[in-house]
């Protein structure tokens, strides 16, 4: 929780004021039994009803003050919770958007999402609760001690004696309980994952008649959740009866000691009534602490998960990297690039990749699934850093270019890109404040203009989440529009015409050739016809360059390339 508490720092002033108000409010609450004792012991002997009414009026005033002050304090607490959680969420989100590819892989996307949603929510709840309920019980306890010491210091000692006992109880239970709830949460995650898997694979499961097997699998994870929850809840269930017992025993002791003291003439009996009243008040306040417990243990597990994100160090740091004079002349070059996702020299996903492109040239990449085509792109755009070798853009090593400046030069359509729930034009412009003309032009080049105009509201048509209301081909044309829209220096199309028919694909390539002559293009495709006309073609296999050259050169020298060509072109005859 420490990391999260750091966010409370700017509000320490406000929290202190809130605390003071809360203390004042609680004292007003506590004043009532005190007045009660005073009436019983000191006023009644006067035998005047008017005196009783006067002190009764004071009780009313105290009650009003208690209400007002507590409300103000609660609201201040909510405000602090609001502001600090807003900052926590902002920072976490910002951190997430700045994670490198490797870091995202490590956290996994679903886990990042749940950290941003569930975990920040848990923390929000607890920050508020702690300030409202968490402090009330201790204040009542301490306040009770202060006030009762004015009534009878000896009886107060009993109240003081309960303190370490209660503290010990809270400590022991939270020490045992918090890790248990962490375990519960982990098993719940596992259960949810099992359900998710079953939902997405329902057809396969049914086709293979594996429902019985899946039911057994679910039983197991369910039992695990139940087992953990029973354990955790049983520990938590101890707190309330034990607290009750401690305080009620205190109550009985007050009666005993009280009896001796009254008998000895050291105090008046009305004060015992006040003490009993205090004990019940403390008891009630303690009960809400139990509730806070469970929430706190949840939240501290959450805070830990948030801390992991918040404290992740930036790993794509911009540093000057030395380059040779030859490299300074390069426009876009891979120089002996090797890469491993695990940073393991044994498991290279790319091995010794080298090629050079001049301004306006195009490169086609073809290769089997898992041959490293997409990895190459991710290195070029610096989602990951190379393990060895250098990537040069406009005469600079990409590690020496600030990330955003680097990426600004690119237009890219990924293999499984995303459409966001927003208008078509916003999906194309994507926060780059492009003019409508640029958007329309790009959509025309990407062969998307016609279908967009057929939608109601045209460019203002609202796409659903993940482009649910668009077909695969339409989505791909939007990705390409997005990539083209700012006339990038470098255009990357990663298998982004697979859902287009041959005719549209051809038109698209034509438009790019004509209208983007300054742009250096990298095309990844499975259809050989899409890349055939590129200035250079790279044949990748298991991370290695099996061939590099023009179509004609490769047809002559590269067996695999020829094989692919024949199989694809052959089937069309």
């Amino acid at each position: 929780m420490d990391r999260v508490f750091r966010y409370l720092k700017p509000y320490y002033g406000q929290m202190t004021r809130g605390l003071i108000i809360k203390i004042a409010g609680t004292f007003a609450d506590l004043g009532l039994p005190w007045v009660l004792a005073y009436i019983l012991d000191d006023i009644i002997p006067y035998g005047k009803v008017s005196y009783i009414l006067f002190w009764g009026g004071i009780m009313v005033l105290l009650a009003i003050a208690a209400r007002m002050l507590n409300i103000i304090a609660n609201r201040m607490a909510s405000k602090v919770a609001k502001n600090s959680v807003q900052a926590i969420r902002h920072d976490t989100f910002e951190r997430i958007t700045n994670l490198s590819g490797a870091q995202v892989d490590q956290f996994t996307v679903p886990s990042l999402i749940s950290r941003m949603t569930t975990d920040t929510y848990n923390v929000h709840q607890v920050i508020g609760m702690m300030q409202r309920l968490g402090v009330r019980a201790p204040i009542i306890l301490v306040g009770g001690i202060v006030l009762t010491s004015t009534l009878d210091p000896v009886l107060t000692l009993i109240l003081v004696a309960t303190l370490p006992l209660l503290g010990l109880l809270v400590y022991l239970i939270s020490k045992k309980g918090i890790p248990m709830y962490t375990k519960v949460q982990a098993s719940v995650d596992k259960m949810v994952q099992t359900i998710r898997e079953n939902i997405s694979g329902i057809r396969v499961i049914k086709a293979l008649s594996k429902t019985e097997y899946e039911i057994q699998r679910f039983r197991k994870v369910n039992d695990e959740v139940i087992g953990n929850e029973i354990k955790a809840a049983s520990i938590m269930a101890l707190s309330s009866p034990i607290m009750n017992l401690i305080l009620n025993t205190g109550l009985a002791i007050v009666v005993i000691i009280g009896a001796f003291r009254v008998n000895a003439g050291a105090m008046q009996p009305g004060k015992i009534v006040a003490f009993l009243s205090y004990f019940t008040m403390i008891l009630n306040a303690m009960m809400s602490i139990t509730r806070l417990f469970i929430n706190y243990s949840k939240a501290s597990a959450s805070a830990k998960r948030l801390k992991e994100v918040l404290d992740t160090k930036e790993d794509l740091i911009v540093t000057p990297v030395k380059i040779s004079t030859e490299q300074e002349q390069e426009y876009l070059a891979f120089d002996q690039v090797s890469f491993s996702y695990e940073n393991d020299e044994e498991k290279l996903s790319l091995k010794n990749i080298s090629f050079q492109l001049k301004k306006g040239e195009s490169l086609g990449i073809i290769g089997a699934t898992g041959s490293g085509k997409t990895t190459l792109i991710q290195l070029l755009m610096r989602f990951y850093d190379v393990t060895e070798g250098q990537i040069i853009i406009e005469g600079k090593d990409i590690r020496s270019i600030p990330l955003k400046e680097l990426r600004k030069e690119f237009g890219v359509a990924f293999q499984n890109d995303v459409i966001f729930a927003d208008t078509i034009s916003e999906n194309i412009s994507f926060g780059r404040s492009l003019s409508m003309e640029q958007i329309i032009e790009a959509s025309k080049d990407a062969c998307a203009y016609d279908f967009i105009m057929e939608k109601e509201n045209g460019f203002s048509y609202e796409a659903a989440i993940k482009g649910g209301n668009l077909s695969g081909g339409q989505k791909q044309r939007l990705y390409i529009s997005r990539a083209l829209a700012n006339h990038p220096k470098f255009l990357i199309l990663d298998d982004s015409s697979s859902a287009l028919d041959y005719k549209t694909d051809a038109m698209l390539r034509q438009a790019i050739r004509n209208n983007y002559q300054e742009t250096t293009i990298i095309l990844i495709a499975q259809r050989i016809s899409s890349i055939m006309q590129s200035d250079h073609i790279l044949v990748l296999d298991e991370g290695e360059m099996l061939g590099y050259g023009t179509h004609e050169e490769l047809m002559e020298h590269c067996e695999i390339y020829r094989e692919i060509y024949e199989s694809q072109m052959g089937s069309m005859e």
Binding site: V49, G56, A66, R67, N70, I71, N74, R75, A77, Q86, I96, T97, P110, T117, H124, Q193, I195, R196, I199, G201, I202, K206, A207, L208, S209, K210, T211, I215, R219, I226, E229, S234, A237, L238, L245, L251, A252, V255, I256, A259, F260, L276, S277, I366, A368, T369, M381, L403, Q415, N416, V418, F420, F430, G431, S498, Y502, Q526, E563, S571, M572
Partner: protein
């Protein structure tokens, strides 16, 4: 109390939901009964406390030198004794209730999961995974909380309220009159506030949902955002949505924060009145000091549950709403059960015929009209057509994910509705467009369809699917654990794994749903060689994109907008110069 209008959370058919819940509770009636008895006992014991302390105080009141210490001591020891017993009982009660509610939760979750397995696949096309998951986890959790705490609390409250009231009446009927003013006040007030703040809490959930949706969308699209250096724009949008979410939370809290102190205020007023009236009565010797003490303690006990009532009722209401959502899943119609004495499909030959079949997912819209098709053993049927034309519908009917509306489908001359679903489905091997990989080892994923598959068989299948060499090169080989997202494996490799999975089955019929669309051409060449072996001797239904498959098909179904528009061999259809011809020709432009 239940009259509070609640538009969002109140279930529509309370009676039905309650009956449903009762079915679960009554399974464990003995535990429930035990819990009620424990609750009664524990609270009765707790009620004795204030009475004893009152007695003791009356003795103490006798004053200096006259206090009978022995008797007071006796009362105090009794008090401690009663409290110990009460604490033990209440702990036992908690344990019992935890176990009871967890049993119910376990049963409910299992029931929902079983139900999910029985539902027709269409259910999953219509419901979001997140929604189903939230029912099985969040909703059932809400029910659990309510069962384990509220139920006991209601019993305990009734006992405490009635018990305290009786005690108070015994002590002083006139003081009880004072209480009669303040109690309704606090009840009315909490009701009023609950009503007033409910829309705020609803808005708070809404805004939180919006934010969660946004986060999910953005984090999933992180790579694109970075590629376009859109981090700042997205962060700005997030800040806006986040601001709204915390503001809605704050607003709900802002008004919600009045409730606690106000209820407390009313209690304090009530204490004040009791003090004033009590003191006056004490003054005129109508009441002893011990009486006032006991009365004050009882009145605190009494008002506790009354104040809680509003909370409990709203909690119960959301539990009922949650239960309703759960029961709605449980009450979904399952796949029709196998007919009585359904036959096992054995010694499959693979002859499939479709006779005069009509089908629609809804009664209003017939998607397939009068479809006829004969697939001889070992023949290849290709289904072609534009995306979204209803190709998968035919597959759904063949596998009996849905039953036909009219006509019939036969396998080896058996009407498929007279066969057990399991034996029918086992006769098919299937590779779907959406690759499905579950969290488990590669071995588990390949062997999934075949019980007790040996390592040799799995390796053979992987070799046939051309993924063996990839697997072998992984440090853990076949024991590599794949996570659900399949982060550690590419889409094409996933596809190859599912092909290997299909290869392992001894099915006589094969369904390929654009199975190679995620595999690049070079890999596909390799797969197709293997696939041809797999297809040999099997009746194959292929939803086809690639020309080679289509050309060699024995029969091609051309589907458009849900209808089978043409049928025949490649050359038949080319001669016809119809829809198929145009579709085919477009690929060469």
């Amino acid at each position: 109390m239940a009259k509070v209008k609640n538009t969002l959370e109140k279930p529509k058919n309370t009676g039905k939901v309650l009956r449903g819940l009762w079915r679960y509770l009554s399974t464990y009636w003995w535990m429930l009964l035990g819990a009620i008895l424990l609750a009664m006992a524990s609270n009765l014991f707790a009620l004795v406390g204030p009475m004893l302390s009152g007695e003791a105080i009356d003795l103490i009141e006798l004053g200096v030198g006259k206090v009978p210490i022995k008797e007071v001591l006796w009362y105090a020891v009794l008090m401690i004794g009663f409290y110990i017993v009460s604490s033990i009982l209440s702990y036992l009660l908690s344990i019992l209730m935890i176990r009871l509610s967890q049993r119910i939760v376990r049963k409910m979750r299992n029931d929902v999961f079983d139900k999910l397995m029985e539902l027709p696949v269409g259910f999953f096309d219509q419901h979001l995974a997140g929604d189903i998951i939230s029912r099985i986890s969040y909703d059932i959790d809400v029910i659990n909380t309510s069962l384990s705490t509220d139920l006991v609390q209601i019993f305990a409250s009734i006992i405490t309220v009635v018990g305290s009231l009786i005690m108070m009446v015994i002590i002083s009927p006139s003081l009880v009159l004072v209480m009669l003013i303040t109690i309704p006040m606090s009840v009315l007030y909490t009701k009023y506030m609950a009503k007033k703040t409910r829309p705020l809490f609803r808005k708070r959930s809404e805004k939180l949902g919006e934010m969660n949706g946004f986060v999910e969308e953005m984090v999933s699209g992180l790579r694109t955002i970075k590629a376009y250096a859109g981090e700042e724009v997205v962060l700005e949008k997030f800040d806006h949505i986040n601001g709204e979410a915390v503001e809605a939370y704050y607003q709900a809290d802002y008004y919600g924060s009045i409730v606690g102190p106000t209820v407390n205020f009313i209690n304090n007023i009530s204490l004040t009145c009791v003090t004033i009236v009590g003191s006056v009565l004490y003054l005129y010797n109508k009441l002893t000091l011990g009486d006032i003490s006991s009365f004050v303690l009882y009145s605190r006990k009494f008002s506790g549950p009354i104040n809680e009532a509003a909370n409990i009722i709203s909690e119960l209401q959301s539990a009922l709403a949650a239960a309703e959502r759960v029961f709605r899943v449980l009450n979904e119609p399952s796949e029709v059960a196998d007919v009585y004495q359904a036959k096992e499909l054995a010694n499959v030959q693979g002859k499939v015929s479709i006779k005069d079949v009509s089908f629609g997912y809804t009664k209003e819209k017939t998607i397939i009209k009068n479809l006829n098709l004969n697939a001889e053993e070992g023949s290849l049927i290709a289904i072609v057509g534009p995306t979204g034309a209803g190709k998968t519908t035919i597959i759904n009917l063949l596998m009996r994910f849905y039953d036909v509306d009219e006509g019939a489908i036969y396998v080896d001359n058996n009407e498929i509705r007279e066969l057990t679903r399991e034996s029918l489905r086992k006769a098919y091997a299937m590779v779907l467009q959406d690759t499905w990989i579950f969290g488990g080892t590669i071995y588990d994923n390949i062997a999934y369809g075949k019980k007790d598959a040996t390592m040799e068989e799995v390796v053979a299948a992987a070799k046939a699917a051309r993924i063996h060499s990839y697997i072998k090169n992984l440090p853990l080989g076949y024991n590599t654990v794949l996570n659900e997202e399949g982060m550690n494996i590419s889409k094409g490799q996933k596809q190859l794994l599912t092909i290997a999975r299909a290869m392992l089955l001894d099915a006589k019929m094969l369904i390929l749903d654009e199975a190679t669309s995620n595999v690049d051409t070079r890999t596909e060449i390799q797969i197709q060689k293997a696939m041809r072996n797999l297809m040999a001797g099997k009746t194959c239904f292929v939803i086809a994109h690639r020309l080679s498959t289509i050309q060699s098909a024995d029969n091609i179904l051309v589907v458009n907008e849900g209808n089978v528009v043409e049928q025949g061999t490649h050359s038949d259809l080319m001669k016809k110069r119809g829809f198929y011809y145009r579709l085919y020709a477009s690929q060469f432009e």
